[in-house]
Subunit: 244 residues, 2 copies
């Protein structure tokens, strides 16, 4: 690396320098740090990162491949995808989280009572469950595909309600008169299979954030098990951690 | 869907049923719920999920494409990748987190003092920083590629130390005599570019979990900014959330 103080002679590949710059630029893009969504020109970025213009071009290529930025003739390099942050510290529905960015609507793809697979039945303490499958959109654009299992007594009151426009969390709290408490969440990065990709309107193989979330009533009873595929190019997850 | 109680006539595609089963099976695989890492046979799974054997075959195909399971003649369908959980509630280094699974070692790919890009300098309050780039392995297999920027006074004491075998968190706390406090974390799912894929030994385009983490001393001073690419097929992130 170009170590000004250590003077290490180690040679770094251009690809390594490009990745290093791309990560910092990605963070600026996602954090909306560039005024008007226009990136500084290559010469400025090369100076900023103490690398060659070729390395900067390669860094911008990486972010273009991710679908974050694009070149617009006469304007320069611009941000083309807004990514929205979903908080991991507080348990919130998507519409609650994103209300300042626009309207969340849901295509209800399936809805009904089913016999639960045994692992789902065990986790919800309910042999029959309400199954809800929704394609969720923000301002009409697909954000996530959610497969939801609800304990029968909690899910049945939702069957006639406005699942197209309301978060399941708020409907559960309204119909049960009880508050949700904690949830356990597992996150994975997974490549989209062909069919999920088609539903979410992304190329096959696109990186998705797959979230499995088991939500409980405040009393500790598990009531809502969800498997969520989020488009990686449209959602980020944010959390605050403590050392101890 | 096959709604036993509602009797909804809605037709569901086999791909939808396969995804639905695959999500529950994935959760069982990652949670190590199948004894000996051998999945039940197709007939059992078809009954379990109330779907056809063709749907189960398609579900298993999805998980095989993700690299989670494989068919072994004479044995059946077996789990082939262990995924490790990294906690999102407590701020821990990788070696601390995974100590029960084996030894974490680090290939130090770059190390030295550099002039920080302005956004990094601003976040760390340090115009010069120590830059450390590590390929992190568990029992020899690549898990993540970490690009780390440390405030100069915090990073310089680490330059001669055992970065191959120790977490940066524990080295910082040892050399500074101070405790780390909170960290802000952003998670994204991103497709691996060609060069990062080669370093992490995955196919180009593989889904990676990209983590950006800014860690602070307990007093609130930011000291450690990291950009981490985790192999999606080897790490999951776990968190506990509260409703309010």
């Amino acid at each position: 690396m170009s170590s000004q103080r250590q003077g290490s002679p180690e040679r770094r590949l251009r690809a390594d320098r490009a990745r290093q710059a791309a990560d910092v630029i990605r963070q600026q893009v996602v954090g909306r740090a560039y005024p008007g969504g226009v990136l500084p020109d290559e010469r400025f970025l090369a100076a900023e990162f103490s690398v060659s213009r070729n390395s900067i071009r390669e860094a911008l290529d990486l972010l273009r491949e991710e679908g974050l930025i694009d070149r617009v003739p006469g304007v320069g390099t611009v941000v083309v995808t807004e990514k929205y942050a979903h908080g991991l510290n507080q348990l919130m529905g998507l519409a609650e989280t994103l209300h300042e960015h626009g309207d969340v609507t849901n295509d209800v793809r399936a809805l009904g009572v089913i016999k639960a697979p045994s692992s789902v039945a065990a986790r919800l303490g309910s042999p029959d469950v309400v199954y809800v499958e929704r394609l969720r959109r923000l301002n009409g654009l697909p954000l996530s595909l959610d497969l939801t299992y609800l304990a029968l007594d909690v899910g049945e009151p939702l069957l006639g309600l406005d699942l197209e426009n309301r978060d399941i969390f708020s409907l559960i709290e309204q119909t049960s008169g009880r508050s949700l408490g904690a949830a356990s969440v597992t996150l994975e990065a997974v490549n989209a299979d062909a069919h999920s990709a088609a539903v979410l309107e992304v190329p096959r193989g696109s990186a998705l954030m797959v979230v499995e979330r088991l939500s409980h009533f405040a009393c500790g009873r598990p009531v809502d098990l969800e498997f969520i595929r989020m488009r990686g190019d449209r959602l980020t997850m944010r959390a605050e951690l403590r050392r101890s």
